[in-house]
C-alpha cells in the first residue's frame, strides 16, 4: 500500500504471521483461442503487483516476478470471454524454492494457487502453469516458461 507502510513499527502485534509480502500474479486467458489451437502460445497474459521491485514482462506470456524469501505468491485467473471458464490445474516449479498449492475461496468453488518463496533466489527459477479450459479434461501448459527472479539479479 502506498501510504504509511514506512511508519515506524510499534509494539502492536502483527496479526498475519508469516508472509513478509504478498504478490498477486494475475493471468488473463483467451479460452476460445486456447481451445481452437490446443496451445497457450499467444493466448495468455500474465501481470503481477511487484513492478515496483523490478518485475518485467508485464502483460506478456513471459512474466519475470521479483521475489525474496518469505514472499507469498498468489496466482489468479481472469477470462477474456466472460462466459468462459478456465482455472489453474498445476504449477510446476522447483520445490526447493516454492511449492504452490491449490486453494479455494471460502464458501465458493473459485480457486487460486498460493505458495511461499522458501529461500532467496540467485539465478532465475523457471516455472510452468497448466490451465484447465472450457470443459476439456486435460490441462494445457504454458508454451514458454515464466520466471521467479531474485532482487537485483
Amino acid at each position: 500500500m502506498a501510504t504509511k507502510t514506512s511508519a515506524t513499527p510499534k509494539s502492536e502485534p502483527q496479526v498475519i504471521p508469516t508472509p513478509t509480502k504478498t504478490i498477486t500474479i494475475a493471468s488473463v486467458v483467451d479460452v476460445v483461442g486456447i481451445l481452437a489451437t490446443d496451445s497457450l502460445a499467444g493466448q495468455v497474459y500474465f501481470m503481477d503487483t511487484n513492478k515496483a521491485e523490478g518485475s518485467t514482462g508485464q502483460g506478456t506470456e513471459n512474466l519475470r516476478t521479483v521475489v525474496s524469501a518469505g514472499y507469498r505468491l498468489v496466482w489468479t485467473v481472469i477470462f477474456l470471454e466472460c462466459e468462459a471458464y478456465a482455472a489453474i490445474d498445476e504449477i510446476i516449479i522447483d520445490p526447493e524454492y516454492c511449492e504452490p498449492e491449490k486453494k479455494v475461496y471460502e464458501g465458493t468453488d473459485v480457486s487460486y494457487w498460493m505458495g511461499t518463496v522458501k529461500k532467496d533466489i540467485t539465478s532465475p527459477v523457471p516455472y510452468t502453469v497448466k490451465f484447465k479450459v472450457g470443459t476439456r479434461d486435460e490441462s494445457i501448459p504454458t508454451a514458454s516458461p515464466l520466471y521467479l527472479i531474485g532482487k537485483g539479479s
Binding site: 483461442g33 481451445l35 481452437a36 466472460c82 462466459e83
Partner: protein, 143 residues
Amino acid sequence: MESKITIFSVVDVIESLSGGTLLNGNLCMMDNSPFESLNQGTPNLVTLCYPGQLIHWTILALDLQTPVAIRKITFLNQDGSSCEPIPADPTQLESDKLHLNVWSGIVPYYLVPGVEYRYRFELQMYEGKNCLMYVDTPALKRV
C-alpha cells in the same frame, strides 16, 4: 405464402471446442418454414420448402462473446459425396472476412419432391487446428 425461410443455428462454441464435436446438443438448427420441417433443434434439420423460395442461413454463438461464423455451405450428391473438399489444413484458415458472407439463395425448380438434399454446414470458430467443424446431416426437402 411466405417466400423466405430463415434457418437459424445456435452453437455453444466453448462446449464444441472442448469436446471437439458439434453433436451432443452443441449445435441447434431451427427454421421458420411455413411447412412442418423435421428435426427442429438438431443438426438433422430437414427444412421443407418449395422452388422459388429464398433460404437464409444465420449463426449465433450461445456464449455471446465467442467468435463463430459460417465458413461454407456445400450441397452434397445423393450418395453423400461432394466435389468440394474440406480444407486439409485448418491452421491456414483465416477468419476475419467470414462475417462479410451472406448465406442465402433461391430454391431451384429442378428439386424432386420428397427427396432430401443434404448439405455440409461448415463452421469456423476462432483460428487454429481445431477451428473448423462441420455437420453433413441437415437437408432441404421440396414439399
